[in-house]
């Protein structure tokens, strides 16, 4: 066990999987010599060579589609898109190709491919280095979507994603890359299964279902509310597709109150799907309306710190939302 930041845990996961399986390779912009703009692939090219850790042209469609070709021919590629915002030039390849390969070939071809991308805001990235893109990809059957928020989860889930026979969109909250350290296991002991949520704080009054950077903020809000005598249960989804409906249902049936807390634009965000499913499945257990605490419906997160802070739900706003629910 060693103390690791989230970005170090990502790098460890890649290194371990490349060591374990010669079919695993990494490609993307600046992933080689430079080791990635966030240093997620630092040292990998020196260790595994320029073919297995390949710098590509600045062309996201190429990165995804060449990776798909490698996957179809027996490799286990991990493609890095430098920022999730830049996955859109590859959108056709991800949605129409990668996700549909298995279905359209009636299971003859599969596409074991991981597409990693830093996601979310709060790092002064402006409109095009801050977006939360998960809802686009969660809408697509054939894809899996993972969004961890701790070093141990990042490592364990990335290792599982690499071993998964299907394509995985692996979104890493960049604001948490170096936000803290924790003990992270090595080798297979680090593995985490895809599709399992984590109950990260127990509480009897209200459930907050969250993921990504807002897990941290939701926990701050929960600590504050505890002082007021409100016990918040916090669930980190970790995997968004498939998401762990049962764990969420279990919590909501205990508390009778639930808010989905997410950073993306509110309308059509992944939290809307969670809210709808819970309203449908445990209506009889609810003592208050299922609530969304989300980013505003503006195109993206602005550069100005004042506007960036206004965009990101903070502990005050989340606490206020949860308090309203608890008192409903």
């Amino acid at each position: 066990m060693a103390e690791r930041t989230l970005v170090q845990a990502v790098r460890d996961a890649l290194a371990e999987e490349m060591e374990r399986d010669p079919r695993v390779c990494v490609l993307g912009e600046d992933v080689g010599l430079k080791g990635g703009v966030f240093k997620a692939t630092e040292g990998l090219q020196a260790r595994f060579g320029p073919e297995r850790v390949m710098d590509t042209p600045l062309a996201e469609s190429s990165i995804v589609a060449v990776a798909q070709g490698l996957a179809l021919e027996g490799y286990r590629p991990v493609a890095e898109i430098q920022f999730a915002d830049y996955s859109f030039p590859a959108f056709n390849q991800i949605v129409n190709e990668v996700a549909r390969i298995r279905y359209r070939s009636n299971g003859d071809f599969g596409c074991p491919l991981v597409i990693r991308a830093p996601t979310g805001g709060g790092v002064r990235g402006g409109l095009y280095h801050s977006q939360s893109v998960e809802a686009f990809y969660c809408h697509v059957p054939g894809l899996k979507v993972v969004l961890p928020s701790t070093p141990a989860d990042a490592k364990g889930l990335l290792k599982s994603a690499v071993r998964d026979p299907d394509p995985v969109i692996f979104l890493e909250p960049k604001k948490l890359y170096r936000a803290g350290r924790e003990e992270v296991a090595e080798g297979d002991g680090a593995l985490r299964r895809l599709g399992e949520a984590a109950l990260v704080r127990a509480g009897r009054d209200v459930t907050a279902i969250t993921y990504g950077y807002l897990r941290v903020v939701t926990l701050q809000a929960a600590a504050r509310l505890q002082e007021e005598g409100i016990e918040v249960e916090v669930v980190d989804l970790r995997t968004l597709r498939p998401w762990d409906v049962e764990t969420c249902l279990g919590s909501v049936r205990r508390t009778g109150r639930v808010a989905v807390v997410y950073e993306a634009n509110r309308t059509g965000g992944f939290g809307a799907e969670v809210a709808a499913e819970l309203a449908e499945r445990c209506f009889e257990s609810l003592d208050a309306p299922v609530t969304r605490l989300a980013g505003p419906d503006v195109p993206a997160m602005p550069f100005s710190p004042a506007l960036e802070q206004a965009f990101l739900p903070d502990a005050d706003r989340i606490a206020a939302g949860l308090r309203r629910l608890a008192r409903f």
């Binding site: 042209p57 179809l72 298995r102 359209r104």
Partner: protein, 344 residues
Amino acid sequence: MATKTQELTQKGGQHRHRALGLSDEAALRIYEVMRLARAIDERMWLINRQGRAPFVISCQGQEAAQVGSAAALEPKKDWVVPYYRDAGVALWFGMTARDEMLQFLARKEDPNSAGRQMPRHYGSRERHILTTGSPVGAQLLHAAGIALASKMRGEDAVTATYFGEGSSSQGDAHEAMNFAAIHKLAVLFICENNGYAISVPQNHQMAIKDLADRAAGYGFPGVVVDGNDVLAVYEAAHEAVKRARRGEGPTLIEAKTYRITAHSSDDDDKRYRQAEEVALWREKEPIPRFAQYLRQARVLSEELDREISDRVNREVDDATDYAESAPDPSPDDLLKHVYAQESR
């Protein structure tokens, strides 16, 4: 600038195929596959016009570009990444008339997609035909990826990807050629330039006359061939394959040809092109042209031609009967093969 066919040596005179290393049997096989592709296609239109099938997308007129290039490859070792007109490529790589008709009628037994995809969207892992979708141009990058895998494994397999000049406008086409060039990948980019992107003629798609000229911008050779001369296509593809196997990188082959039919059964080409133009190209059709060559070379007798016609017709009849009586997918099949666990 691209190499032109005229500049290629038209070796062999009356026996060009032998000069190219093709036996009489091989030449006849190319001819028969071209005939079969055409016969299947004509039958599809018939069935469509009788109201028994909703959609046809056609290979007619492009058989030489397809079969001539595929014949330069090694099935099961090399890969083809076709587009939705490439009946000749798919047949050369092992698809049968039955497979074509099963897909055409969207039957459960369709080996390409079990009735999920529209006609002529081929795919078979065993036959090294990559599954392809309808958005054009995307497949060129997959070819680069497959060729990168071959290179990383130290194999000399070649990947040939096919597209129309219409697809060449897509960004993915540019990205693929650039990527393949950087790593000297063993890719054949085979453009079947049939003159139209549905209704838009070439001069509204690009400002250049020869699309193969673009290859120079990526740093590899571009070759223009008469796409209705199957031996010229074979020659260009054969050279490109040799080059690719030597590790010298990709080649762009522009096979100039013509789409004899409308874009699809839902298109009326009279709205955008003159009947005279189509008639002119009918004169230059690749199949009668190759037949004439084979007769002159004394490889094809009238009797043998009749035999081939009979065999092709029997095959198409059998395929039609077989597919028409084959079962549809069951509604339960809708939910299968979204993820791997459901594939087992």
